[in-house]
Structures are given as structure tokens and as C-alpha cells.
């Protein structure tokens, strides 16, 4: 299976042929994949060098000139380093862009903390009007990228991951999908963590919602899944634990409820290694998730599920 980043390159290269407003701006990272597209569209595939503030500023200027810019680099350098450019050169100018990141929170553990951005979504949450897609499979990434590019002049963030679920699902760029139904609680699994959540909740009497478009937060879907309450809700996110807790609380303001936010820890891990090792360290592997979800919701675990998790 190709990676989400490879799919991004392929899909966006095709969209450049189809959509004359589209422009891709890179800051050295990802240029190899766009070499052919750059030959075909030299004015619309731009590499500004290792200049991430300029990357976002150029995106704002392109939008002001009537283009639909797609900006790509690692999340740390796309959202965190040039954050004021994201705030002012896009938001304050009322200019749109599609930001496409890679590496996320723990995709390259051997690269260390300099290439991790577990706070990117929380940071964008301080700004107004951003749509955020977190695909869980390359097919979903392709679908959500097409939605993002076609979204007028909206501000859209697409967070690509190395981690992926085994199969893609029919995502629509808007709402959550109901993957499993149960009575003891509602678990919201974001993007590439769905398979781990499904493994963790095997045999537990819980509803599982699958979220690939996390902003705007699909309050209606969560509200419907909860019913009249009282409700126990667990959010499982591949970025800072609790990033979406406030959104879930707002969605359930009129229902007695408790929310548990699971995700990456705030403390810097200072470990290299592999993705599975980091997922375990953050308590996001199936066994840890099962323990925490069952304890919080009080859902009973069956033996079949226990076997599955142990495997």
C-alpha cells in the first residue's frame, strides 16, 4: 500500500492538470515527488527553499491573487514554526489555503521531538474557521484532499500520517461515521487510530464513531450516538490528549456526561524507536486503550476480545 504522502503527491499532481487555480508551494520537503508536475506547471509548483515563514506568506499572496494554494511540509514546520503567518497571512487577510502536513505526532520516532507536532490541531483551534481532516487511510486521504481543494477559499488543514488503518472507509469530508453500536459508552476514534480502537473495543458494549473530519466537530453525530444520556464518551486522538474534549463537552451541554480524552502525552518522551513503541508509551496501543476505555465506561469485556488483544 502506498503512504498517504505518496497519495497526496499523485492526487495533487493530477489536480494541477485539472484545476488551473491550483498551486502547490513546497519548502524543499516533498519536491522530488512533484518534479514531473513542476515541469508541466512551472508557475504553479513552487519551491521556496527552506523558508517556512515564506511558504505560508506566499500561500497568502497566491490566494490574494486568486489562486488556490496547497502548502506542504512536516507539521512542525507548517503549523508551529510559522504560526503567526498562518494566523495573519491567511486568517487575518481572509485568504484561504490547503495546508497538508506529514509526520504528525509520532510518525518518525527515530527523528525525535524536532519532527513531532502533537499540538498542531490544538494550535489551529486557537484560530477561527479552519476545517481539519485527519484521514486514516490513503484512499481517505485522496478523498479528503479533493474535498479540501474544492472547498472554495476555505482554510483547510489535512494531517497525513504514516500510520494507516487496513481498509479505507467512505468518508465524506464532513461528519463522523458510526462503525459499531453499543450501550455502555461512545468512543470517538480519530483517523489512523480506528483499527486500534476497534481491536481495543472488541466485545465491549460501546458505540464507535470514526472521525476523519474533526473540525468542524460533528456535534450532531456525537449527540445522536449518546441519546438521552447520561453518557460516557472517550475521545481517542493521534495528537495531544484532550484536544477535542471541549468540543465534546459543548456538544453534550444539555446531557449529563463524562468525557475522557486520550491521545499523546504532553510531556516530551525523549525516546526514539518505532511507532508501535510510541503508541504504547502514550497508551494508544490496543491493550492500553482497552484497559482505559473499559475502566472508564464500565463496559464488560468478553473472552473473545481478550484473546484478540493478547494476539
Amino acid at each position: 500500500m502506498d503512504t498517504m504522502r505518496e497519495r497526496f503527491t499523485a492526487v495533487t499532481s493530477r489536480l494541477l492538470d485539472e484545476e488551473p487555480r491550483l498551486a502547490v508551494v513546497l519548502a524543499e520537503i516533498g519536491t522530488d515527488g512533484f518534479a514531473e508536475a513542476a515541469r508541466r506547471h512551472p508557475d504553479r509548483v513552487l519551491n521556496v527553499g527552506i523558508r517556512e515563514q515564506l511558504l505560508v506568506g506566499v500561500g497568502g499572496g497566491l490566494a490574494l491573487a486568486g489562486m488556490r494554494p496547497v502548502l506542504h511540509t512536516f507539521a512542525s514546520f507548517l503549523v508551529e514554526r510559522p504560526f503567526e503567518q498562518v494566523k495573519l497571512d491567511l486568517g487575518h487577510q481572509d485568504a484561504g489555503a490547503v495546508l497538508v502536513s506529514a509526520y504528525g505526532s509520532y510518525d518518525w520516532p527515530a527523528g525525535g521531538y524536532t519532527h513531532m507536532s502533537p499540538g498542531d490541531i490544538a494550535l489551529l483551534d486557537t484560530l477561527d474557521g479552519w476545517t481539519v481532516h485527519v484521514p486514516g487511510h490513503p484512499d481517505e486521504a485522496a478523498t479528503l484532499l479533493r474535498h479540501a481543494v474544492a472547498a472554495g477559499d476555505d482554510k483547510v488543514y489535512v494531517r497525513l500520517s504514516q500510520q494507516a488503518n487496513a481498509a479505507g472507509r467512505p468518508v465524506d469530508g464532513a461528519g463522523f461515521l458510526t462503525v459499531r453500536e453499543g450501550r455502555a459508552g461512545v468512543v470517538v476514534a480519530v483517523g489512523p487510530l480506528l483499527d486500534d480502537v476497534l481491536a481495543a473495543t472488541e466485545g465491549l458494549d460501546v458505540t464507535v464513531l470514526y472521525a476523519t473530519t474533526v473540525r468542524p466537530f460533528d456535534a450532531a453525530a456525537l449527540r445522536a450516538a449518546v441519546g438521552p444520556g447520561p453518557a460516557d464518551v472517550v475521545l481517542v486522538e493521534p495528537y495531544l490528549a484532550g484536544t477535542s474534549t471541549a468540543y465534546a463537552n459543548d456538544a453534550l451541554a444539555d446531557v449529563p456526561h463524562r468525557v475522557l480524552g486520550l491521545g499523546t502525552a504532553r510531556g516530551e518522551l525523549r525516546r526514539y524507536g518505532t511507532v508501535p513503541e510510541h503508541l504504547r508509551a502514550h497508551g494508544l496501543d490496543p491493550a492500553s486503550l482497552r484497559e482505559r476505555i473499559a475502566a472508564f465506561t464500565g463496559a464488560e469485556a468478553g473472552t473473545r476480545a481478550g484473546t484478540r488483544v493478547a494476539a
Binding site: 498551486a23 515563514q53 515564506l54 506568506g57 490574494l64 491573487a65 486568486g66 487577510q93
Partner: protein
């Protein structure tokens, strides 16, 4: 070019009216050019260089002027009012809750204003992107109408790293539709070694340094051809005082 429409709308609005217009904002009727570093450069641009009028302020192939140095925008607002982009009647509300005229401009509130600015170091990167976008839209090829992008920055503002990124990129790629007007009132705490023009020249720009109060010198520097190179005009004015 002259903005004939603006002249129709405000038959007497000329350079000599600017102190009066600025006085509507500050209450200081004696506001002279020395009180603002950008006034003469802005006037020369809007009076003789920029191909944009209130009627063409939304045209795809208009020239763009981006005020990056967004603090102290009274001279900018006065010039825009003199040229008919803004009603002079808006000026007395300067900074008020119901006024679209802030102490930093907001493009979404003001006709003819291309960017919201105030935080330093954003205008030049936005100008680079705008120039790239106009090129990508295929708006070039008719030299008499090729849209040009101008951005006005301050000398101290050039300290911002984002500007260094933009200067280096525009120089290296020969972005000749891009023009930077630097108002040099010696306000940088740690001035660029060799002067401002040297910084741009080292990056591959075409440059000129002129007296920022000399309208003919400004006009000549702003209209000098510079094929294949971005252009920087450094307008020297009296040192800043605080």
C-alpha cells in the same frame, strides 16, 4: 498615470491637501510632511506610478500596493482619500469603534487596501506570493499592462527574518514584477552592514537609493526598467524620532 476618476471625485485633492486630510485624523491642522516618513513616497506611487484607480481596485490586472509598514497609517489613509479610494468623511473617525480606519489597516474593511498589516514582516512575503499568483494566472505578456506588485516596508522592519526569506527568494528567482519600497529613516537598532541597498543587491535585486522627499527622484527610481530582477527602491528620509 493619472487617476482621472479620482480627480473628478475630488477636484482639489492634491499633494497640498494631504496635511489637511491627515489633520482630520490627528486633529493637528499643521501636520507637515516631516511628521510622516511615508507620505511623499506614497503620494508619488499613487499619483504617478501605480496603475490602479477606485474603479479598477478589483480588476485582476491592477497593480497591487501592499502597505507592510502598517503602523502610523495616516499618510496612507490621506493619500487613499485624496485619490478617491476612501471618502474623506471617514477620516475623522480614525481609530474609533465604528470606523473602518484602524491604527493598523484591515483589508476586509477598506476599499483599495490590499492587505491587513501591523505585525512587521508579513507584507513582503505576501507580495512575493501575489506576484507569483498573478504570473500563474497568466496575467503577464502584455508589457504595458503587466500587473506590478509594490510593497512598502520600513528599514527596521527588514530585521524580521521573514523578510530575509522573501528577499533571498525573490532575488534568486528574478521576480521582476515585484517592487519593494524601503522607507529608511534609520530606525533599525542594528543596521544592515553596508546599507540596505547592499543587502538587496547581494540577493540579486536591482536597487536605487534616493531622497525620500524628492518626488522626481522617487518617480525615476520607481519607473526604471529592471528586466529579470526584482526592484528595491530605498527612500531615505530624516531619522525617526520617538
Amino acid at each position: 498615470m493619472t487617476t482621472t476618476t479620482a480627480v473628478r471625485q475630488r477636484p482639489h485633492a492634491g499633494y497640498d491637501d494631504l496635511p489637511r486630510l491627515m489633520g482630520l485624523m490627528t486633529g493637528d491642522e499643521k501636520h507637515g510632511p516631516a511628521a510622516t516618513s511615508t507620505l511623499d513616497a506614497l503620494w508619488v506611487l499613487y499619483d504617478r506610478v501605480l496603475r490602479v484607480t477606485p474603479e479598477t481596485a478589483g480588476a485582476p490586472d491592477r497593480d497591487r500596493f501592499l502597505l507592510s509598514k502598517g503602523h502610523g497609517p495616516m499618510a496612507y489613509y490621506a493619500v487613499l482619500a485624496a485619490k478617491g479610494f476612501l471618502p474623506a468623511g471617514w477620516l475623522p473617525g480614525f481609530g474609533g469603534y465604528d470606523s473602518p480606519l484602524g491604527h493598523h489597516p484591515d483589508r476586509t474593511l477598506l476599499p483599495g487596501v490590499e492587505i491587513g498589516s501591523g505585525s512587521l514582516g508579513h507584507g513582503l512575503p505576501l507580495a512575493v506570493g501575489t506576484a507569483l499568483g498573478l504570473r500563474a494566472r497568466g496575467l503577464y505578456g502584455r508589457p504595458s499592462q503587466d500587473p506590478r506588485v509594490w510593497v512598502l516596508v520600513g528599514d527596521a522592519e527588514l530585521d524580521e527574518g521573514s523578510n530575509h526569506e522573501a528577499v533571498a527568494y525573490a532575488g534568486a528567482t528574478g521576480l521582476d514584477s515585484l517592487h519593494t519600497l524601503v522607507i529608511d529613516n534609520s530606525s533599525a537598532s542594528h543596521a544592515l552592514p553596508g546599507g540596505i541597498a547592499a543587502r538587496f543587491e547581494a540577493a540579486g535585486w536591482s536597487t536605487a537609493t534616493v531622497d525620500g522627499r524628492d518626488h522626481e527622484a522617487l518617480y525615476a527610481a520607481c519607473t526604471t526598467p529592471h528586466p529579470g530582477r526584482a526592484r528595491a527602491v530605498i527612500a531615505r528620509v530624516e531619522p525617526a524620532y520617538n
